[in-house]
Symmetry: C2
Subunit: 98 residues, 2 copies
């Protein structure tokens, strides 16, 4: 069963604990920056494995050392716990990625 969209207040509370992510266009978004392409792609690889485990996948764009990520639960029509979970894992993987 897919989770339901978070309410505005639930989402705001979760986002307040999630460094670097912002809500816009019915999704949560963050840009990660690394030292070079190799580090950016290593981040993407580890994130891809988490995404497969959660069966929940990011929309993301990579240009050299930057990875712009957008998370939303399309079949729930908004941001759910699944997006918060994947965002939390991506922050852990990025570590000090600015």
């Amino acid at each position: 069963m897919r989770p339901k969209p978070l309410s505005d207040s639930e989402r705001s509370e979760q986002l307040s604990r999630l460094n670097g992510w912002n809500f816009s266009d019915n999704s949560i978004n963050r840009e990660f920056k690394f030292r070079n392409f190799s580090e950016a792609f290593a981040f993407m690889t580890r994130s891809a494995m988490e995404a497969e485990k959660l069966n929940h996948h990011p929309d993301w764009k990579n240009t050299y050392n930057r990875v712009a990520v957008s998370l939303s639960t399309h079949d729930a029509g908004g941001v759910t716990e699944l997006d918060i979970k994947l965002a939390t894992e991506m922050n852990k993987i990025a570590g000090n990625g600015i």
Copy 2:
């Protein structure tokens, strides 16, 4: 030394031999489609290794089973042999990816 931008006729000739790629916005572009996220990301991983070998990196966006790629040689101000090389390698990697 970085290569120079291809002339319009050189580029057109190269593109005619490069399945699925189109020229727009001073870059060459293709969308690859796979069976699922895992296959799309496997394609990205192998392409990332080729990009590192060429020291020439794609702008690309992934949404589940789709990978949209844009190639341009920014410091040459246009499409060069490097973009044709990377596009050729990506087509080989994708194999029957539609």
